[in-house]
């Protein structure tokens, strides 16, 4: 088996699977919690708090979990440090930093 065979096989397999995977996921994940909710957060009833929660969740999903999976959990004593580290490393805006901090400390 040559490199051309492997490359052709891999690209063909990828091209065939990606649309299938996306369609399956779109069907199965509607209404399911997203990946970032592995760190369970208490739900709040206040609409404003819920809005912050979802905004912070969006920031987490779009910036943090783009590179790595969420840790199983960590002490609230370091949440500010984690967020500041993410601000520098992921180049978050000030607004996103604040929303992320609210998400980690509802």
């Amino acid at each position: 088996m040559t490199s051309k065979h492997i490359l052709g096989f891999a690209l063909g397999l990828g091209a065939a699977l990606i649309p299938r995977v996306s369609s399956i996921q779109a069907q199965t994940t509607s209404g399911q919690p997203s990946a970032v909710q592995t760190t369970s957060k208490p739900q709040t009833s206040a609409p404003k708090a819920a809005q912050h929660y979802s905004e912070g969740e969006r920031v987490f999903a779009q910036n943090c979990s783009r590179c790595h999976t969420a840790p199983d959990g960590f002490s609230p004593r370091i949440s500010g440090t984690v967020v500041r580290h993410m601000r520098v490393r992921a180049q978050l805006s000030k607004h996103d930093e604040q929303e992320l901090l609210r998400f980690l400390n509802p």
Binding site: V21, S34, I78, G80, H85, V88, Q91
Partner: protein, 331 residues
């Protein structure tokens, strides 16, 4: 007044310095020779006041390799290095000034994916050295931040200058460069370009581009990079996937993570000024990882590398635990 004090105490408590990182045991079988490597990569991060932040990552590895010439037993060597040690000053909502020893911001692998608790494979891509300016670390300063952040798109940037340093722990080359990325949240698409110029020795330019895509509501990720120097160029594409169809990501099936990476390098001439192979090379990496509970991952992969100097197999296995905790208990 009491409320203010409580708030300050609460805020201070959130800013306790943290110790994070990864510890793992890795094996690599390349062309039949197996290397065993226990390794630890601790990361320390400490905020100082409201604007300053200090962070550092180190690498401590031990390598056990079989003795050559058929002799029984193993030889061993160790590697200890400071990956970076930088202080950050958050000057404005759009600007952070970084000083010290920092990871070279060229493409994405060096800054984002190189920690063992993040990378899907044990080893980096073949082109990881292009634009990394030798050590992958610069000594000098960086300007970085979020230029624009809107609901529909965001643009971030980083520009750096590094001086030449011969210090054992802070080795760097005189260089400059930067990166700009645009992210589209609706389509979960990131596109970026990088530029670097080596200001000593071969004095060459490096160009790079990266494309990341993570379709919404899926655990599918696509990452790719292209890098070009004066004497060589190459690319890698990587896709990984976890299914949520059978009980979510935390089910035993959802924890399985197949990964595929394809990479090619092309040498444009025989002048060697980068870490790319001396001949054109193709490599396919097939990985199968398992994400255990408690921040532990099992990494396995098989790679087949093709070049005119000979084809060979690379087998890798490893287990990596990611830790993250405060440096002291606090209140």
């Amino acid at each position: 007044m009491l409320a203010m004090l409580c708030a300050v105490r609460h805020a201070t408590a959130q800013d306790t310095p943290l110790l994070s990182g990864g510890v793992g045991f890795l094996t690599n079988t390349n062309s039949g020779n197996t290397t065993y490597s226990p390794t630890i990569q601790p990361l320390l991060a400490a905020p100082i006041g409201n604007h300053f932040f200090v962070e550092s990552r180190a690498v401590l590895s031990e390598f056990f390799t079989p003795n050559s010439d058929g002799q029984p037993g193993y030889d061993h060597s160790h590697f200890i290095s400071l990956a970076y040690l930088q202080s950050d000053y958050i000057a404005t909502p759009h600007l952070t000034v970084v000083g010290g020893s920092f990871l070279t911001p060229f493409n994405t692998f060096n800054e984002r994916l190189s920690p063992i608790w993040i990378n899907n494979f044990q080893d980096g891509p073949l082109i990881a050295g292009v634009g990394a300016m030798g050590t992958g670390t610069g000594v000098g300063g960086e300007l970085r931040g979020s230029a624009i952040s809107r609901n529909k798109y965001s643009i971030d940037y980083v520009a750096y200058f590094s001086t030449r340093s011969g210090n054992e722990q802070f080795n760097s080359e005189r260089s400059t460069g930067g990166r700009a990325s645009m992210y589209l949240p609706d389509s979960r698409l990131e596109v970026g370009v990088s530029y670097g110029r080596l200001l000593q020795g071969t004095r060459e330019n490096f160009y790079g581009t990266h494309v990341w895509w993570e379709p919404k509501d899926t655990a599918f990720r696509f990452r790719s990079e292209f890098a070009r120097g004066h004497h060589a160029q190459g690319y890698w594409i990587e896709a990984d996937y976890r299914t949520q169809a059978f009980g979510g990501l935390n089910s035993w099936i959802g924890r399985i993570e197949p990964v595929f990476r394809m990479q090619q390098t092309f040498r444009r001439d025989t002048i060697v000024s980068d870490s790319l192979p001396l001949v054109n090379t193709q490599r396919a990496d097939f990985g199968l990882n398992y994400n255990l509970p408690h921040n532990t991952r099992i990494l396995t992969s098989y790679s087949r590398q093709f070049s005119s100097t000979g084809d060979h197999n690379i087998w890798e296995t490893g287990i990596v635990y990611r830790f993250l905790f405060p440096t002291w208990k606090g209140k």
